[in-house]
Structure formats: structure tokens, C-alpha cells
């Protein structure tokens, strides 16, 4: 799946046991994904993350004790290397926006078909954004409309800004490479540099940070 040969460690956080079992079963056929823990709420998820240091948390939004958004914020604060993907019943831009702000790398619905879910997980693990292009555009526009929150953007090269712009619009590495007529490897290097300079964990967060910094102009329809 991720073509790296290593096995990624996952935690599933959902207050419904049925859903946790469903997700576990759904991912069972994937040899490079291992569900190492299940949490019934945000608090448990946070504790499990401290204990197990997983690669990825599949996080429900609404949970008792501590909801998924708060848990995501805390996990990202404690260990930015842990990626979080929201798996939720709520199809709403506000939830998506809030999730991304909290530090989530992806956002999928619980009724996403298995293959799409697996792909989304793979993209997050590969450091890509599992958001679809349209949603990403909305998201960036919303963030940009709200205005820059920090006035100290790190220095970016022209190439990097160009890549950041495309990345923010939800393009994949290959698409970015094609548009800019560079190799996929070069695109990956640019993205890696961008993520490092912005001090974020993944490309979704990179787009969020870039919007917050006012590096990306509000998209026009």
C-alpha cells in the first residue's frame, strides 16, 4: 500500500465499539497497517498515544469525556509526529475546518468505501493531504478570508511558494510535478522543505499554516 515495506501502527478512537470493530475488520486485509490500540474517547486516545506512539490515529469527532478535536489538539501538541485522521459522521465544512485547525491531516466520513479509506490513510502516511481538491479550496479560502494570524512567514524560494500554492489546492505530488514540469522527486524535496520551514507535520497542516500566514491569496471562484 505505502510501498515502503514497513508496517504502520494505528490507533482507533471511537466511542462506539461496533464502529471500532468495523474499522479494525475493514483494515485487517492491509498487511502494512496494524491497529495497535483502541480508545473509547479522546482521553483514552491521548493516553494511548503517549504509551504507544502510533503513526496514525483514526479519530471520531464526537466522543464523551474529551471530544476528537480536543484530543487531536493535545496529541499534536505533545507529539507532532503523530498524524491524526478524522473519521466521522459529520459532513460539514466547519467540522473539517476545525479538525484541520486542531491538527488533523485528513477527514473522512464513516461511510467512506473501504478502498477510499485505505487510500486516504496511505496518503496521510505518505505525507500527502487526503482532502479532496474542492474541499481543500474551500478550506484555504476560508482560512485566507479570516486573515493572517502571524506576520512572520519564513523565507521561501519562488519554487517553494509555487509548490505551496498547488499543494494548498489539493494537488498530488505527481500533479504538482506535472504542472511545474519538474520531477516527482524534486516536488517531494520542495514539500519536505516547506513542511520543515513551517514547522508542521504534514502537507495539510502546511496548507493551513500558509493560509494563516497569508502566503496564499484567497482563491476566487
Amino acid at each position: 500500500m505505502t510501498e515502503t515495506g514497513r508496517v504502520y501502527r494505528l490507533i482507533i478512537a471511537d466511542d462506539h465499539e461496533l464502529v471500532r470493530t468495523g474499522l479494525r475488520n475493514l483494515l485487517a486485509p492491509e498487511p502494512d497497517l496494524e491497529v495497535v490500540g483502541e480508545a473509547r474517547d479522546g482521553q483514552e486516545a491521548l493516553e494511548l498515544c503517549r504509551e504507544l506512539e502510533p503513526d496514525l490515529v483514526l479519530m471520531d469527532v464526537r466522543m464523551p469525556r474529551m471530544d476528537g478535536l480536543e484530543a487531536t489538539r493535545r496529541i499534536k501538541r505533545e507529539n507532532p509526529r503523530v498524524s491524526v485522521m478524522m473519521v466521522t459522521m459529520h459532513e460539514s465544512e466547519s467540522y473539517l475546518l476545525e479538525a484541520v485547525r486542531a491538527g488533523a491531516a485528513g477527514y473522512v466520513l464513516k461511510d467512506t468505501p473501504r478502498q477510499s479509506l485505505v487510500n486516504a490513510i496511505a496518503r496521510v502516511l505518505r505525507g500527502e493531504s487526503p482532502l479532496n481538491q474542492e474541499l481543500a479550496m474551500h478550506l484555504i479560502r476560508r482560512l485566507a478570508e479570516e486573515g493572517p494570524r502571524s506576520s512572520q512567514p519564513p523565507p521561501f524560494s519562488g519554487w517553494e511558494l509555487e509548490v505551496l500554492r498547488l499543494l494548498s489546492q489539493g494537488y498530488t505530488n505527481r500533479e504538482i510535478a506535472d504542472i511545474l514540469a519538474i520531477s516527482v522527486g524534486t516536488a517531494k524535496v520542495h514539500i519536505h522543505n516547506i513542511i520543515c520551514k513551517l514547522g508542521v507535520s504534514d502537507r495539510t497542516q502546511a496548507a493551513v499554516r500558509a493560509a494563516e500566514l497569508g502566503l496564499i491569496p484567497p482563491a476566487r471562484e
Binding site: 461496533l18 470493530t21 468495523g22 475493514l26 459522521m89 466547519s94 464513516k110 461511510d111 474551500h138
Partner: protein, 645 residues
């Protein structure tokens, strides 16, 4: 010039008469004469005609001058009487003059005759003149006296220094009830009901100005009762003395009329005021207090109480009272008082009664307050005898009747207002209950059904991997089951969002409306959204209500407006939360916007109800052809005080 003179000559001598006549002619007279020498002839001559002068010989055989003089006096004739004599002694002359003769002339000295005649004629004329004047004066006095005696004005004379009443006319005697004799021994101080100093002061003014209008004074009658008079006084001279002539006009009747008029005016004013006050209030307490207050002002009542029938039990409760409580309690508890209440209640008519019991006011009134055929209350009033005067009773009855209607109106209004309040509370509870129920169902579906469906979908997909169908038909069948499950989850999600947007709970009003806006834009609508609430959270009820109003308004636009252009404004400014949903669509005719119109179809009453429950203002502006605007404003004080519950 020759002067005619009618001379009666009492003389026995023809010759002497001729001499006399010649002397008269010589003096310039044209005498017209008759000579008589007896009493009988003289009487006849006097009887026959008028004479200017009598000239008599002193002594004749059958008659004499003194006798002639006596005849003249007896007849009451004041004619110059001159005695002629041959020779006469001093003493006889004096005697004659004393008897009333005017002159005495010796026949040998006739030269004195003419001047004497001249003088005597003049004097006689003067005496006649004086007599006539005297008579006229007497007549005039009599006329005045008659007027004074018969006039209805009181007139009397008083002495300015002793202040004794000297004379009085019958009218004055009648006015005060004294006889003329009684008054003659009294002074002004006895009959004028003012201080002696005030009386003296007026007398000084009268003497100074001669005529003086004292104005209204109060006199005292013999029986001690006062009488109001209007007085004017003149200073007059009477028998050489300066006296006061006082004319007093009895104005008791006028005073009484004035008082009656004033009372009538007061009554009218009271009724007017009562009508105004009683009908302008819908507060029963206020009406009760006003009624008693007005009654107290227009009558002599000492204490009064208003009792009203309360509730379904029909018990009378003391509602309002004026006057000393102990008076009220004492009078109200007497057998007479309770009997009057019973009678008023039974008959529905005003009861007037006297209280024989000691320690209570002498009179009482019990007035029923009636509305149609029902007695809704009783008013008791206690006070002096005058309370029972017809006018007072009528006035109080009229006031009571007005108050009865006003109280009944207020009661009905109160009930109505209470019902309305209850209704409003009920609607509020209903809306809250509805929202709670939706909330519960939404979360039930979310936490139960939707999760189970999602899990089933996931499990079935997992199962399909481990137990892959062998045939293309089985694969297709599995695929369609999976699709069905997936769309069931979506349906559940839609139901949840409809029932209770979790957004509203998690992100608040601004974000929830934004989601609606985004959803419409995704459908291709042109929607503007002007919002400045940001992360501001309002009380759950307010957020829900405003959100539902937006939903309802958008539903209207969708169903009725025929446009896909909407402007939504949701702002906090000027101490208000302001929501506007405007469309540029077809609009509604005004009759559809009336609260009782079938506006239900466009959900206006629901929106209005929600807005009013938040203490907000709801307004619809719509005209056919120029779109519809829904405007809701809620004072921030109402929104932020409560905080979030």
C-alpha cells in the same frame, strides 16, 4: 296796572263801604266786592265763591269783626283779615291780632289800608304756598313710608354712635324674627354676626363716604340661625341727627342656589373625573382606590369599603377601604349593616339606612356593583345624615355603577392577559420541548442507528474481502447491498442534520448559518452572508430560535419567492443581535402577512412566536414584485444575561 281784588266787606255802613272802595281804587285795585253785616250773610258769601281778602268793621249792631274772624277760622280759610274801626283801644287791637286778624286800621287813617292789603295778600300767598309745600311733603313722606313698609328689602335706621336700632321696617322684622319693639331695644352688635370691631370700622367708612356698599354680611336671627344679606348703607339726616339707613337684601336663597350649583358642578366634575379615571385603568386595585377617593371628595362619607366577589366560590373579599378603620369595622359589624348588605345583595338595589347603634356614624349606604344581572361587589359607606340626601345617593350610585363596569372590564382583561401569558408560555414550552425532542432523536440516531449502520457497512465490506463472492452475479449483488447500506448511512446523516444540526451545538449560530449558506451556494444559489458574530455563543434557546427562523425563511424563499438570490445578515451591533433574510423574489401581498391570515402557510406565526419568546422584535416587509425581508432584532441584554444553559 289795575289789580283785580275780590273783597268781602263786613260792614253795616254804606258810606264807610264807599269810602273804603274809593280808597281801594285809589290804591290801584279794581275791587269786586260784597258787603255783609250778619254772620249768615258772611257764611253765604264764603260759601258762594272765593275771596282774596276780608275787611271787617270792628263793631256792628248784629255782628262783629272777632265773630267774623271766628267764622273764617272755623271754615279753615286762611284769608287776610283786616279790621277797620272808628276808634279802638290798644287792648282790643291786641285781642284781635291774637285771635288771628292780620292788621288793624283806624277809619280815620285809611292811608295805611292799601300797603296793609298789599302786604297781607303777599303773605297770604306765601302762606298758601307753604301750606301746599307742606302738604306735598306730607304726601311724599307718606308715599315713602308706604314703600318702606311694604318693600321686601330690609330697611332700618340705626344710630352711628350708640348703634341702637331706631326704626325698622316689617321686612327686616320678618327677616330676623323680632318685633319692632324688640328691635328698638337692640344694637347693631346684637344682630350682625361679625366682630364689633368690623362693625365700627364699617360705620366709620359710612360716615366718611355718606353712601357705602358694605357687601355680603351675615346677620343673626332671633332663633340664632345665620342669614346672609347684602348690605348698603347711607348716612342720612333725620330730625337733626345723622343716622344710618341700612338696606339689607336677603341673599340666603342666592347663596343656597350658588351652593347647589357648586354642588352640581362638583358632582359633574366628579362624574367626569370618575368616567375618565375609571375607564382609563385596567388595574382593579387602582380602580378601587380611585373610586373610593372620588367618593370621599364628593360626599361627606366618613369611611367606606369596597368588597369584590372573588373566584368561583363567590366569597366577598375586602378590596379597598378609606376612612378610619375602627369606624368602618364598628359600622360594618352592626346588625343594621349586615342586614343592608344582605338586602343589597339580594335585590341588587341601593340600601340607605340609619344606624341606631352607639359609636357609629348615624347613616349608612350599601351600593351593589352590578354587571348585567350579576352583583360583583358591594360598596358600603358610612357618615353623617347628609350622606342620605337624594343627590348624594344618586351620585354615589352612579359612581359605583361606573366602577362596576370598569372593574369587570379590568377583571376580564386580566384574565385575558393571563390566558395570553399562559398561552405564550405554553408555546414556549412547546417549542423547547420540540427542540429537546428533536435533539434527543437526533442524538439517538447519531449515536445508535447511524453508528450501527456505519459499522455494518464497514463489517460487510471486511466480510466481502475475507469471503469474496465467487460469481459476477454475487459480486454485483454484494455491491448493491453495500451501496444500499451506504446510502442508508447518508440518509441517517441527513435526518440528523435536519432534526438538530450538531453544528449548532458545536460551533454556534454563525457557523451553522454559514453551513446553510454554503449548502445553497453548492446548489448554485447566489447568497451573500454578512456575519460578525464570530465565535460568540448565544444561549442555546436563542441560537436555536434564530437558526430555525433562518431555516424557515430560506424554506419560504425556496418555496415561494421564485428566486435564488438571498442576502443574509447576522450581526451584533448597537446592543442588538440582528438577523435579516432578504430575497429579491416575488414577495407576498400584505394580507398574507397579517398575524391571523393564513400566514401559517409561510410559517410567519412560528417565526414571530420564536422571536417574541426571546424578547425580540419580528418584522416582515414584503410587497408583490419587490421581494420579502424577514427582520429579527433581539436586545443583547436579553441574550447575554441568561448566558448559556
Amino acid at each position: 296796572m289795575v289789580q283785580k281784588i275780590r273783597v268781602l266787606i263786613v260792614e253795616d255802613s254804606e258810606d264807610d263801604t264807599l269810602l273804603l272802595l274809593r280808597e281801594l281804587r285809589r290804591g290801584g285795585y279794581a275791587p269786586e266786592h260784597r258787603r255783609v253785616e250778619t254772620a249768615g250773610a258772611m257764611e253765604a258769601a264764603l260759601e258762594e265763591r272765593e275771596w282774596d281778602i276780608v275787611i271787617a268793621d270792628h263793631s256792628m249792631p248784629a255782628f262783629s269783626a272777632p265773630e267774623a274772624l271766628r267764622i273764617l277760622k272755623r271754615r279753615g280759610l286762611d284769608l287776610p283779615f283786616i279790621i277797620l274801626s272808628g276808634c279802638i283801644g290798644e287792648d282790643v287791637a291786641v285781642e284781635a291780632m291774637k285771635a288771628g286778624a292780620h292788621d288793624y286800621i283806624v277809619k280815620g287813617d285809611l292811608a295805611r289800608l292799601n300797603p296793609a292789603i298789599q302786604r297781607e295778600l303777599r303773605e297770604a300767598a306765601m302762606r298758601r304756598e307753604r301750606r301746599r309745600a307742606d302738604e306735598e311733603l306730607k304726601e311724599s313722606e307718606e308715599r315713602y313710608r308706604t314703600v318702606v313698609e311694604q318693600t321686601t328689602e330690609s330697611i332700618f335706621l340705626a344710630h352711628p354712635q350708640t348703634r341702637l336700632i331706631l326704626e325698622s321696617n316689617p321686612a327686616f322684622q320678618r327677616l330676623l324674627g323680632y318685633t319692632a319693639e324688640e328691635l328698638r331695644s337692640m344694637t347693631l352688635d346684637d344682630i350682625i354676626d361679625h366682630s364689633p370691631e368690623s362693625i365700627r370700622q364699617n360705620i366709620r367708612r359710612i360716615l366718611k363716604h355718606r353712601r357705602y356698599k358694605v357687601g355680603e354680611r351675615r346677620y343673626r336671627c332671633k332663633d340664632g340661625s345665620p342669614v346672609d344679606v347684602e348690605v348698603s348703607v347711607s348716612a342720612i339726616s333725620y330730625r337733626g341727627e345723622e343716622l344710618l339707613c341700612i338696606v339689607a337684601h336677603d341673599i340666603t336663597e342666592r347663596k343656597r342656589a350658588e351652593a347647589r350649583l357648586r354642588r352640581s358642578l362638583n358632582v359633574l366634575l366628579a362624574l367626569y373625573e370618575a368616567g375618565h379615571v375609571l375607564s382609563s385603568s385596567l388595574d382593579r386595585q387602582e380602580i378601587g382606590a380611585e373610586l373610593l377617593g372620588i367618593m370621599q371628595r364628593v360626599s361627606s362619607l366618613a369611611a367606606a369599603a369596597l368588597r369584590l366577589r372573588e373566584g368561583s366560590s363567590g366569597e366577598f373579599r375586602l378590596w379597598e377601604s378609606v376612612g378610619p378603620e375602627e369606624v368602618l369595622v364598628a359600622a360594618s359589624r352592626t346588625p343594621t349593616g349586615s342586614e343592608a348588605r344582605r338586602a343589597a345583595l339580594a335585590s341588587g338595589r341601593t340600601q340607605t339606612f340609619r344606624l341606631p347603634e352607639a359609636g357609629t356614624p348615624p347613616a349608612g349606604l350599601c351600593l351593589p356593583l352590578r354587571v348585567r344581572d350579576r352583583v360583583i361587589g358591594l360598596l358600603e359607606a358610612y357618615g353623617p345624615e347628609s350622606l342620605l340626601e337624594r343627590e348624594t345617593v344618586e351620585l354615589l350610585s352612579s359612581l359605583t355603577s361606573q366602577a362596576g363596569s370598569a372593574l369587570e372590564n379590568a377583571r376580564l382583561y386580566g384574565e385575558l392577559a393571563e390566558h395570553e401569558q399562559q398561552l405564550k408560555e405554553l408555546v414556549g414550552k412547546l417549542l423547547v420541548a420540540q427542540e429537546e425532542e428533536r435533539h434527543r432523536v437526533a442524538y439517538d440516531v447519531h449515536d445508535g442507528l447511524a453508528q450501527m449502520l456505519a459499522a455494518s457497512y464497514q463489517n460487510l465490506q471486511a466480510f466481502a474481502i475475507s469471503h469474496a463472492p465467487g460469481t459476477p452475479e454475487a459480486r454485483r449483488e454484494l455491491e448493491s447491498i453495500l451501496n444500499l447500506l451506504r446510502s442508508t448511512v447518508r440518509e441517517a446523516r441527513r435526518i440528523i442534520a435536519d432534526l438538530r444540526p450538531t453544528m449548532l451545538d458545536d460551533f454556534g449560530l454563525g457557523a451553522s448559518v454559514r453551513q446553510q449558506v454554503e449548502a445553497l451556494r453548492a446548489e448554485g444559489w447566489e447568497v451573500s452572508y454578512d456575519e460578525n458574530l464570530g465565535d460568540l455563543r448565544l444561549p442555546v434557546g436563542v441560537e436555536t430560535a434564530l437558526f430555525r427562523i433562518v431555516q424557515e425563511a430560506l424554506t419560504n424563499v425556496r418555496k415561494h419567492a421564485g428566486t435564488d438570490r438571498v442576502d443574509i445578515l447576522l450581526r451584533r451591533e448597537g446592543g442588538e443581535i440582528r438577523l435579516e433574510v432578504r430575497d429579491g423574489g416575488s414577495g407576498f401581498p400584505p394580507e398574507k402577512l397579517l398575524p391571523e391570515a393564513p400566514g401559517e402557510r409561510i410559517g410567519l406565526s412560528g417565526m414571530r412566536e420564536r422571536a417574541s419568546l426571546m424578547g425580540g422584535r419580528f418584522e416582515v416587509r414584503s410587497k408583490p414584485g419587490s421581494g420579502t425581508a424577514i427582520l429579527v432584532t433581539i436586545p443583547e441584554s436579553r441574550v447575554l444575561e441568561g448566558g448559556r444553559d
